[in-house]
């Protein structure tokens, strides 16, 4: 993850407690990592924990994981409000996952 993402997570946690991420699948939410308060999104038996950012777990749907595992993901923050139900990464900002194609699945 980028320092900016870490800083945004730290702010969110100090403001309202722990957060979690779930990778969205495209469409209107723009393939954004959706950020929720910890426990807000019910994790199912088949969801995959891709990694932990700071102290926040980052999950993905198991079917989507099969497609995404060829890419290395970096969590970052950019301008603009999130478009779905995700918490913003601070006022006027949202989280994004940047993907780089790699051989080994190793989320950062």
């Amino acid at each position: 993850m980028t320092p900016r993402a870490l800083e945004a997570i730290a702010h969110l946690v100090s403001d309202g407690g722990p957060v979690m991420f779930f990778q969205s699948g495209g469409c209107c939410d723009g393939s954004l990592p959706l950020c929720f308060r910890a426990g807000e999104f019910t994790i199912g038996e088949h969801d995959v924990l891709m990694g932990v950012v700071g102290e926040s777990p980052f999950y993905i749907d198991h079917r989507q994981y099969e497609v995404w595992k060829v890419t290395r993901l970096t969590l970052d923050v950019v301008d603009g409000e999130p478009e779905g139900f995700s918490l913003p990464a601070g006022p006027g900002h949202h989280f994004v996952t940047r993907s780089r194609v790699c051989e080994v699945p190793s989320p950062s």
Partner: protein, 525 residues
């Protein structure tokens, strides 16, 4: 298109070449009146947000703020629910004739303001005005008329259980429903949701998408005096705040949602907490399949098939059912793609309010960034860029807009650009050898919303249509959305159907009166 231009001729038009460029809202001479700031539409009135906060609404064509809308909070959601509940009983008891009359009145007032709504929708979303004039708004109008008719023909069934016992079935309204609208067809998707809910006797609280709250408020302005107060309420604001407050409210009887799959899961989770039903229309990665026989003749049908492939750029690709995977039979690939690429090269991009513009800007900078990043991923995975592939730079007043070139990537179906919904004008194309491989590739996706099949062989079309796991298989056509054709997803593309009279059932409870016309006791006690 002739008809389209007749309806659209309004602003600065040049009769010499039939070009019409509408004046942007906020500029003197525009067909669309614009206030600097919009409130929530609650109980038939314009109500300021409780906390007094507003958010900017940006026009994607130039990246500039053109108005502000309420940045509502959960307190505003409660106000909207109060209004809806206050109207619920009277609307639920309104006769089917009375409900149909209101739905037809909505259609009539929209029709009288068709061009104004088309310009507003185009400016806020970025979609070309030729599309809003010919598709979005006429379809939305027809949708209200369709459900006005459907509700009149709604019949409850009665069953003669035995000679003296009859089971009567009545449709009763659910009550107050919550409806969350996506940004890609703000008015049409609002119509898809509002019309059946009202037809079935429900009141609704509508939450438009954050990037496109305004055109629905322009529609609400037309509804004052047309729809009884409280039957339709519109509140604007962030999804994480008011979308959540609405979807989790114990005061709604159903939640309707169109959007992304993960958020759809969250919506269903919220619905489960309150034990209420949900309809979720989610993402897609629809295959568009072209069999070799389409090139058996160079005729009108082949021309239609070429257009059928290029329809991936319709609404700049921001469509859940966008035909974003083209599967082309190997034997015609080179010749067919050559024709398609030539057609794509002719796509004109620019001011969405110019009726000659074929593709406008993406809805937001976020969407533009995402599309760019997918094209990079595609290239990294080995896909070849056949055309486009870059953001499109516009000059002058549109320099700040969010434009992306119509793009085609050649690759294979395992690549991420073939498996994920890019929601932009990016087509992923690959080839197949035979019918079996076509079907395998078509179904090798998590999604199952739409599909297209192009062939001159009716039997082949039927086999493919039945074999593809998707809710809608366009056969020798694409991107038609007539009211009366059920629409919804297989697999992770959603649950439930829209756009059909069966929606009346989805927005109703079934009341069974089990009546005995016998005086004889049962004899147990």
């Amino acid at each position: 298109m002739t008809d389209l231009l007749e309806k659209g001729a309004a602003a600065s038009s040049d009769p010499a070449d039939n070009v019409t460029v509408f004046v942007a809202p906020g500029v003197a001479g525009s067909l669309v009146s614009l206030k600097p700031r919009y409130e929530n539409f609650i109980g038939g009135e314009w109500v300021s947000p409780v906390k007094g906060q507003y958010m900017d609404d940006v026009a994607p064509a130039d990246g500039r703020v053109f108005c502000q809308v309420a940045r509502s909070t959960k307190e505003d959601v409660e106000l909207a629910l109060d209004a809806a509940h206050a109207a619920r009983r009277a609307w639920g008891e309104t006769s089917l004739t009375g409900r149909a009359k209101v739905l037809n009145a909505i259609a009539d007032v929209m029709e009288a303001n068709l061009t104004m709504l088309a310009v507003a929708e185009s400016w806020e979303n970025g979609k070309p005005v030729r599309e809003t004039l010919a598709a979005d708004i006429p379809l939305a109008i027809d949708h209200f008329r369709y459900f006005a008719g459907a509700t009149r023909s709604l019949e409850g069934r009665s069953t003669e259980i035995d000679h003296d016992t009859v089971a009567f079935h009545f449709h009763e309204p659910l009550g107050v429903v919550g409806q969350i609208i996506p940004f890609n067809f703000p008015l049409l998707m609002a119509a898809w949701k509002i019309a059946p809910a009202l037809a079935a006797g429900n009141c609704t609280v509508v939450k438009p998408a954050s990037p496109t709250p305004w055109s629905i408020l322009k529609l609400a302005e037309l509804l004052e005096g047309v729809v009884p107060p409280g039957v339709i309420n519109v509140i604007t604001g962030p999804g994480a705040e008011i979308g959540k407050a609405l979807a989790t409210s114990p005061r709604i009887a159903k939640i309707g949602f169109t959007g992304e799959t993960t958020t759809g899961r969250l919506i269903m989770q919220y619905a489960a907490e309150n034990l209420i039903p949900s309809t979720v229309e989610l993402g897609g990665k629809s295959p568009n399949i072209f069999f070799a026989d389409i090139m058996n003749a160079d005729d009108e049908f082949l021309d239609k098939a070429i257009e059928g492939l290029v329809l991936y750029a319709f609404n700049k690709g921001e469509v859940c059912t966008a035909p974003s995977r083209a599967l082309i039979q190997e034997s015609i690939y080179d010749k067919f793609m050559e024709r398609c690429l030539a057609r794509i090269a002719q796509i004109t991009q620019g001011n969405p309010l110019d009726t000659t513009t074929m593709i406008g800007p993406q809805v937001s900078s976020q969407q533009l960034d995402k599309i760019e990043s997918y094209v990079t991923i595609g290239k990294d995975e080995g896909a070849k860029v056949l055309i486009g592939g870059e953001t499109a730079r516009m000059g002058g007043e549109f320099a700040g807009g969010y434009y992306f070139q119509p793009t085609v990537l050649k690759g294979n179906n395992k690549m991420r650009v073939f498996q994920e919904e890019i929601f932009g004008p990016v087509l992923a194309v690959t080839t197949f050898k035979d019918e079996a491989e076509a079907l395998e590739l078509a179904n090798d996706t998590l999604y199952g919303l739409g599909a297209g099949v192009w062939t001159r062989d009716g039997n082949l079309a039927y086999r493919m249509g039945r074999g593809i796991q998707a809710g809608r298989v366009w056969t020798n056509c694409y991107h038609l959305y007539p009211a009366g054709a059920a629409f919804g997803g297989y697999k992770i593309s959603g649950i439930g159907r829209e756009n059909h009279a069966m929606m009346l059932e989805h927005y109703s409870q079934t009341k069974n009166l089990l009546v005995s016309y016998s005086t004889k006791p049962m004899g147990f006690f």
